[in-house]
């Protein structure tokens, strides 16, 4: 039992990762779509949180909510997944940001 104690009550595993939006246009329509398309391939619930002055939790499977995040270049975000494929979901979704959504 290596799982942290905070997860004891949850039936499903959770995973999260902090990233920074690094592509120049930010999370605009096309990247938001790419993210949502990928997120929808996982069973886990996916949430993307923005802190700062206007905190907002977006449903990672909703393109409208992802755009409302208004995550421009340099915005720090947290990707959270909640479900049996949480680890791989977070890893794959974070990679989209690492790869700058294939922009450059």
């Amino acid at each position: 039992m290596s799982r942290p104690s905070t997860h004891v009550h949850s039936a499903m595993p959770k995973a999260s990762r902090d990233i920074i939006v690094s592509n120049s246009l930010g999370l605009h329509a096309r990247p938001a779509m790419q993210f949502v398309d990928l997120a929808n391939q996982f069973r886990s619930r996916v949430t993307v949180s923005k802190g700062g002055q206007e905190p907002y939790d977006a449903d990672g499977k909703s393109v409208m909510q992802m755009i409302i995040l208004a995550a421009t270049q340099g915005t720090p975000l947290k990707i959270l997944a909640d479900g049996d494929d949480a680890d791989v979901a977070v890893e794959k979704l974070a990679k989209l940001f690492d790869d700058k959504f294939g922009e450059e």
């Binding site: 329509a29 949502v36 398309d37 909703s62 393109v63 409208m64 208004a70 421009t72």
Partner: protein, 578 residues
Amino acid sequence: MEIKKGIGVSPGVAISTAIVLDAETLAVPRRQILAPNVDAEILRFQNALRETIEHLSRQRDDLLANQRKEIAGIIDFHIGVLHDKTLTDQIETEIRTHLNTAEYAVSVVMRKYAAVFSRMADRYLSERVKDIHDIERQLLQRLIGRGRLELAHLTGDVVVIARDMLPSQTASLDKKFVKGFATDAGGRTSHTAIVARAMGIPAVVGLGDITAEVSAGDTVIIDGNHGIVIINPDEQVLAENREAGKRYLEQETQLESLLELPAQTLDGHLISLMANIEFPTEVDDALRRGAEGIGLYRTEFLYLASDHEPSEEEHYGSYADALLRLKNRPLVIRTVDLGADKYTQDKASHPERNPFLGDRSIRMCLHDIPMFKRQLRAIMRASVLGDVRVMFPMITTLMELRQAKMLLNDVMEELEDEGVSYNRDIPVGMMIEVPSAALMAEKFAKEVNFFSIGTNDLIQYTLAVDRTNEKVAGLFCPGHPAVLGLIRDVVRKGSRSIGVSMCGEMAGEPLYTLLLLGLGLTTFSMNAPDIPEIKKIIRSTTMEHARGVARRVMTFDNERQVVHYLRDETRKIDPEAF
């Protein structure tokens, strides 16, 4: 709660549910469904959603096949939005919990998103609001179909929120249910303002982005007295505004007590107050407010309200209707003034580069003689039913006037040959609304029986200002000394031999009443709701005093001085004037 400041162009306070018109004039009335029909309504939404996605997918594939990747990308985004489960769930919840129709639910949810998008600081993201509007429209078209989204199908009281009201939209408006207007664009003399005043309902224009701020179904207060719009007011503000609305109506009633009294100055000069109308049915309201007749009947609404050019019988029917209601009081029929900002369905698709300087009004009529003659025949046939006078708009040169009069004579001869009765002594007048006509008033006065000064166009052409362009609308001022100089000369030169009236907006503005009296104007034609106020001012002054005011005003060299001085002078005799 949100408070927006604009320009109040028609007084009063309206509180009602909003409908929002976008550029394509989709109006989605709030309609309820019955609880047992919820599942069927949701299914209707899901079908529309599926059809829209299928349609867009085909469109995208075609675009990709033609190497148009940019646009295909946009369509892809629209498809992505339609696949958004959070969004579609919200719409279904709106149907299920609020028992709204599918189209209303779509409109409410999409416009909420549109409002959020348009507020985003990032320019690229806020531009996406256009995509949201586009997606909404696609869904609505499938749910209702284009034709049925017209304003003519309202079922309950609403205030109309729009970018700008198009004349063709207002013409088809179901007036019973519309309680107020608020628009993004427009100035004091915009079409929305004119229509709202004629209807006697409050309007605020020049609000910038009110269409993005208001969602269909929001409660909206339109305070036309102060130029304020309040979106989703709290209880206290709501109560205050209900009170203000009531107070305004009381004041109106008080003014209507003037109804039976003549428009006479304290030293006994009688002034004629007439009303401007667009529809024959407006005659009743005009008389109720003290009009002595109709000084301007704008016949273009006959053309705008339907999708075909009106027949001679349709013209005749409208004129006869107005005359029946007027019972021998005068009716000045202005021949059709289309073009510029008022187009028939047919002409709207071929825009001119500079429509206000283009083929409009009398010019358009002289280019389409069969159409013009149809109207003239109807006017002449109606001329035996009452006190009918005919007036030509936008006359710029003597040749135009002579041509128009010649056609009128042709029509009379035709009727003569056919044995149809008409009044061969019908008074023929012209609008003075172009500087060239104002400057040549002396010459024109020899060829017509009356002048009517149209101030909106006269100001626009004298000052070179488009009154509907918010960036320059501030330059549009009736008090500009150049405009006043033209008006003074037209009144002076015309009054020597013929009748001179004014039917522009200026005639109904209390600020200018003293001045116009002093310049010698004896007939004022205005929107009916303005009549009691103007009458009150006339009854509170002497001609001698008004002449003094006019003399003083004509010494000023700028419009600010004019406006300030007139405001002070008017308040002295009527403290409630503004």
